[in-house]
Assembly symmetry: C2
Homo-oligomer: 440 residues x 2
């Protein structure tokens, strides 16, 4: 891994990152969306044949397929997924919000309600990126939010089958319907609906460039979670860190993607060589060593800093998806962290605990977007609605101010909406709410 030093290297070099040179697939995706929007199910069957070279009998995963999956998957894996589910539910349950209402002067009532989305689509990628953990992480917060219908979209293998672990995870998480449609066509089906597939309110879940582009294009027609990029980790390590553990954690991130980013920020010059040696040894043993080596080459780096304050400054500038605080006193740093999706404190909290098991969500902001995006949460599956009630007295007290404001904005119709209520003096002046509300 390339080594930088804040004492020696300019900040721009230290922060530089290699991004994917993404082809612009907008034109292709636009056509796919149009075909699905106008052609419905028939267009889907055709697109699946054209793009995936698969002929499906049905777009829907059958009950029999789910039953088979539950019987094929090992009892151990089912048990582990149930444990993970319990942990994820426990953490996300704490995110549930209440609305509020307040009563004010002159009998005014105002408030904000929290309402669950009605129907949500969860996209699950195919191939080697088909992760049952993502099914749990994306579906369970929606269940807690009270979403009435959760549908899953996922491509099949060449035989028209969905991986059994994905189907089992969907069943455990409580997905209502599963459809065998991947790619941009899957996103289009969720955004516009077809004869078989319901139009949803929001689409969540990761995907390739076609999926990401389609999500961006349908944003506004439906809501989306975020546009996710390659995964990343930043590890802050001091004298107390174990080089073997640090190297293993860097590689766990690097094995995800050739453009994944693994960064070590350390105060300890002596640690650097040890980590590099460990990286070399451990990399050689890794099944996905080709991917991990490319990631290390592309975006791996070690940054030597003067002290932990400088380390947290760097972390805040990079705004990592995952941040490990592999230091002696990790809680002393937590309050200094302003930009990070998820923070893992201490030597015994490897990031992989968060990927699968501990409870916090693993769908996190990537590519520095932790500056403004949040981990997926129950909040993503609710919306808010405000409300307001004025009495005749309250309206009278506010009338002249509102009229002046409306006139300033040259919206005379707005001012009139107040004035007509004033004209009608007998009603407006009525102090009895009931008679006022039922004056006709």
């Amino acid at each position: 891994m390339r080594v930088y030093s804040t004492q020696r290297d300019p900040l721009n070099d230290i922060l530089a990152r290699k991004y994917a040179e993404t082809a612009d697939v907008s034109a292709i995706v636009q056509k796919i969306i149009e075909r699905v929007r106008t052609g419905g199910d028939r267009a889907l069957y055709q697109l699946i044949e054209e793009i995936d070279n698969v002929t499906l009998d049905s777009l829907t995963v059958s009950k029999a397929e789910i039953e088979t999956a539950l019987q094929t998957v090992s009892a151990e894996l089912l048990e582990v997924m149930e444990q993970a589910k319990a942990n994820i539910l426990a953490f996300h349950q704490k995110q549930v919000r209440q609305g509020f209402a307040s009563t004010e002067q002159n009998g005014v009532v105002m408030g904000q309600r929290i309402l669950s989305l009605s129907c949500v689509g969860v996209y699950v990628p195919g191939g080697t990126a088909a992760y049952p953990s993502t099914v749990l992480m994306d579906v369970l917060p929606a269940k807690i939010a009270g979403v009435k219908k959760i549908v899953m979209m996922t491509p099949t293998d060449s035989e028209g089958n969905v991986p059994v672990a994905i189907l089992a995870a969907a069943q455990i998480a409580g997905v209502d319907e599963i459809y065998k449609v991947g790619g941009a066509q899957g996103i289009a089906a969720l955004a516009y609906g077809t004869e078989t597939i319901p139009k949803v309110d929001k689409i969540v879940g990761p995907g390739n460039i076609y999926v990401a582009t389609a999500k961006r294009m349908v944003y506004g027609t439906v809501d989306i979670d975020m546009i996710a990029g390659p995964s990343d980790v930043l590890i802050i390590a001091d004298h107390s860190a174990n080089p073997r553990w640090v190297a293993a954690d860097l590689l766990a991130q690097a094995e995800h993607d050739k453009l994944a980013q693994a960064i070590l920020v350390t105060t300890e010059e002596a640690l650097i060589k040890k980590v590099q040696l460990e990286l070399e040894q451990q990399l050689a043993e890794l099944p996905r060593k080709e991917i991990a080596a490319a990631a290390i080459e592309n975006n791996g780096k070690i940054i030597l800093v003067q002290d932990l304050a400088e380390a947290t400054d760097i972390a805040n500038l990079i705004a990592p998806e995952h941040l490990e605080l592999s230091v002696a006193d990790p809680f002393a740093l937590l309050g200094k962290i302003e930009n990070a999706g998820s923070v893992f404190l201490g030597h015994h909290t490897p990031e992989v605990l968060g990927d699968y098991f501990a409870g916090p969500n693993h769908t996190l902001p990537t590519e520095g977007t932790a500056r403004f995006y949040s981990p997926l949460s129950v909040d993503d599956f609710v919306k808010k609605s405000s409300y307001l009630y004025y009495t005749p007295e309250a309206l009278e007290a506010a009338a002249s101010a509102v009229e002046l404001f409306a006139e300033t904005e040259a919206l005379i119709g707005h001012a009139r909406s107040m004035k007509v209520r004033r004209d009608n003096d007998s009603t407006f002046a009525a102090k009895d709410k009931k008679s006022a509300d039922r004056f006709v």
Copy 2:
């Protein structure tokens, strides 16, 4: 206004709506964004000359300009804006959230922090759509959230000046910096930063098709609030409604935009004729009658329903931005409303109270997006960050489950991140957290 009846007309006809036939300005906007991204301030000055035909001395609104504005605006308007500010702050203060932390078995600690965004850009349109109320509504929730820097972007008139009411509202709301850049170039400057203008974390505020397209294009580089369309209102009225007031409220919405939507849903056949007569009379007196008449023609409608249950069903399908419950017992309907940006209860709560004064935000989801979007709120100016701490005992208890999960996903580097900690038995088994954390 066209009259529909749920007894007679098909639902699709009742729900049909005319949208803007928007030209695709993507290519133009893409070029503007590129010029600003690569050319910075110089590109901005050039674009402002080319597009707005204005030559600016400075991109920044000076302190002297703000002082002049505060002296030019009437004392009454300043006072009204201060009152509105107090009401808006009081309502939005109730939206402030706390993070949480919980301690679990085996010494696990996990939680979620709420962190304010660092820098936010507020876009304020020019011309007749330059509303000081929007400045208050967009800026004050950001102040409550604790945003460190709030910058405003707005085009100038042909003399290079920003309307005084806008500057006064910005001062009252607490905007930190104001720049004289409108359109797609203003959005690009906020997304990428220039020599003068800071790169922000999030852009909020309404704008024309160029602004909306630019916001969509920079979405992901920065966060955005939403893509807003023409305003709309839906009024549910029963026997107790006053036709004059109902008509005034429909027109207050219609005067915004030729594609604004004003809908009356009523159980009361006798009300329909009266409202139509009032509309005709009041429209004739309206300064913006041309716009309002076009809106009524394009998207105005009256829907006769059998009962209030049917009325709320229709409202939920349309998902209005503003919903007035002009009925005798409005609170009895509130719980039935699933999709609405902001709800106004009773005869004495015209929607314009919410536009200016009462407290709830007026930046609301349009075009049916209340299905999944929320009113602008303090939540829009914060992000969340989760954290996790495991002890050696907790790690040991979770290890086999996490390893199995990782192996199922064929991520052996993930499993290794757990295993290396097990191998180092002397440390992993250590029950004393301090010695474990400082084992080197």
